[in-house]
Subunit: 223 residues, 4 copies
DNA sequence: TATGAATGAGAATTCATTCAT
DNA sequence: TATGAATGAATTCTCATTCAT
């Protein structure tokens, strides 16, 4: 981009060595770059130019692999859902004592949203578009039934052992757990501003996790 | 350039009646239109042209009053914060029995976010920009200290009468209450899709409000 | 311009006290402001808004008095020509010994162009437009014949007393004297840059005046 | 929006043949067109649209190569300085007898400014901006030290052979020579108007060159 | 004589996408 | 598989000027 002009009029342009031909690597690089760019600027604010630059790939190549900005966005969405669900599965919640399982799920959700701030940002963009892209995805529903199944199992085991209250809808609870973490972190800039309080400091983070755990277990666990 | 001199021969064009000269009304119309447009498309996706059209205002007038897209966005943010806080104040929570006060706050938050889906959408956009605009606002912090004060009062009264647990941070609780509503509604399209379940149906809405109330009071109220 | 928005929605706008009605003063203020703005930015780069602001006058008033940007520009041109010629006349060159007269004319031209950098800038703009505006001016030619007359008189007196060489065209000489000053000062930024030398420093100024005087008298004065 | 689907029914539109893919040629065409446009209208008055049209290039391509109007302007400036200095070098002044060398330099400067009226116009624009663009140029100073060197050499040779006076600053002299030509031609429209005399006629041109040569040599050459 | 509100016609610049190799 | 060159359709913003009082 810089000083492209004129120089080419006299000096032999140092032609960029063409990228090694590695289809998989190129696609991965593009997806990574696109995820970051979409997360940072939203769908409308994202720039194909910047994605190409971040991925160190010729812009044309993005179209070669992903056809359009919108399809690229969908590919990113599918990818991030796979990532989170795959990590979630490794929690092995079905093999853990119910109270501890809930505790871990909350902690995991919290930490994941800290490690991956892009996740909620991307979903915000997608919701702005009323899930237009996701609805075209075949894989995504299949990805989520195990999650609901697992949580239902934990709740049922808790209820049977008399620890948890009855009648808790696993989907409602999952959304609540996610909301408690994601809303806080996704809105941390505006919340910090309006409440004039640093909500991302180390102490604030500890307090938040503790508050969320208390809230959910205070509700779930029978007296 | 072309046939200018002939134009006068044409049928008198129905010139759009010039807008009434009412500065306040114009500004209000612009703000309303901008709020809707930004909510629908985000900051980057919003189009000044569409805002002008929605407001039935000459595009130039927007710049006359608001200078730029970004300043207009800030003006919208300030406006929606004022709106919600103003409605919230009318709940008169300080004059109500604590458990009922919490119940009403949850219900209000839930209903407000249903009536004003644009609120969360606008905040998502602002968070994407790390509250860059809001941080330039003088008014916004002042707007929020009464809210925290009110909630602190409710919690304290509840604690003194032995109904609520002690040690609850009002800011944490407020964020949780907001999160439970706003996360659900703000992500309702993706959540409906991934869980393959209509989360906006009348029954679903009732269930959600009930779940949230149970969750918060189940935590707050001592056994 | 600043914070116009919103404020008017609630606070009663402090209506600017209307300017005292003084037609002459308003016109003078506008002309001064326009001269500076045109000098600073050229005709195309000048902004009617800024002129109004500089003149502390409502923009509409400029049109009331001067009709259009172009006519305002012409008014400015006529004004600056009047100013310089009027000062020049006060040199009383016809009553001074020829060599000294030339010396004074050079010094005057030099100092005037230092005191009034806007003069050359305005003329550059006008020349860009091939003197389109000046050609519409009635006054301007009349303004200049005395000048030529005066210089012719000086040259003739010098020749008769055997001091000056014969055959010097007063118009050519005047243009040369003007050019030596105005070209230097009008191009001082680029010249300083390309020659990497501070041509506006106090020492440089003294040297320039001395060089110009040597040059012109070295030519004029017979050996 | 309108009748898109019908368009294919229309007569095949004679699509402008896409421009040959020749990066260097495109850039050169843009530079040429930009030079003319900037010279004709100044920086503020120049229109990117017209430059694109003149260059027979898609407007977008200008930004592809030059990034912005201002950078394009700088590129033009560098280009014209290179052009004039390169022609000047071919005068081989160091190999010519001093008096003749000065004569040729004056004649060259005069003729160049007649052949290239855009040169001074462009510099006027740049001076209006206080050489803001040029100051960012790396090349431009380097381009000018040979010129000063050459002129110093001529003056020194003239002095040593007893023909020229001593103590002449080559930079001052160069600026004077340039000023005598460029001021005359750069202001020829206003000067012709105010003096009511055709300064661009063939006779006037001859007289001017002769006057300038007399002036400079009358000063330089010892009696 | 003076002013705030309003506007149409551009202006520079941006952007996703396609072409040609 | 990979790339530099090229483009059409917007998009934000600007500007001289006019309207209505």
């Amino acid at each position: 981009m810089v000083n492209k002009q004129i120089s080419s009029l006299r000096v032999a342009r140092p032609v960029a060595a063409p990228r090694q031909r590695d289809a998989d690597r190129s696609q991965r690089d593009i997806l990574d770059a696109a995820r970051d760019e979409f997360a940072l600027h939203g769908l409308a604010g994202a720039r194909m130019d910047r994605i190409a630059e971040r991925a160190a790939v010729n812009k044309r190549l993005i179209y070669y692999y992903f056809e359009s900005k919108e399809r690229l966005f969908l590919a990113v969405l599918e990818r991030v859902y796979e990532d989170i669900r795959s990590e979630e599965q490794q929690l092995n919640l079905t093999q853990i004592e119910p109270t501890e399982a809930i505790r871990r799920l909350i902690a995991f959700t919290w930490n994941y949203s800290i490690r991956h701030p892009e996740f909620q940002t991307l979903l915000n963009s997608e919701n702005l578009h009323r899930a237009r892209h996701l609805k075209q995805s075949a894989k995504v529903t299949a990805l989520h039934s195990p999650l609901v199944q697992t949580l239902a199992d934990v709740l049922e085991r808790g209820r049977q052992s008399g620890v948890f209250r009855a009648g808790v809808d696993p989907v409602q609870l999952y959304i609540s757990i996610a909301g408690l973490s994601y809303f806080y972190l996704g809105n941390v800039h505006t919340l910090s501003t309006i409440f004039d309080r640093p909500l991302l400091g180390p102490k604030a983070k500890v307090e938040r996790l503790s508050h969320m755990t208390d809230l959910v277990l205070g509700y779930l666990v029978r007296d």
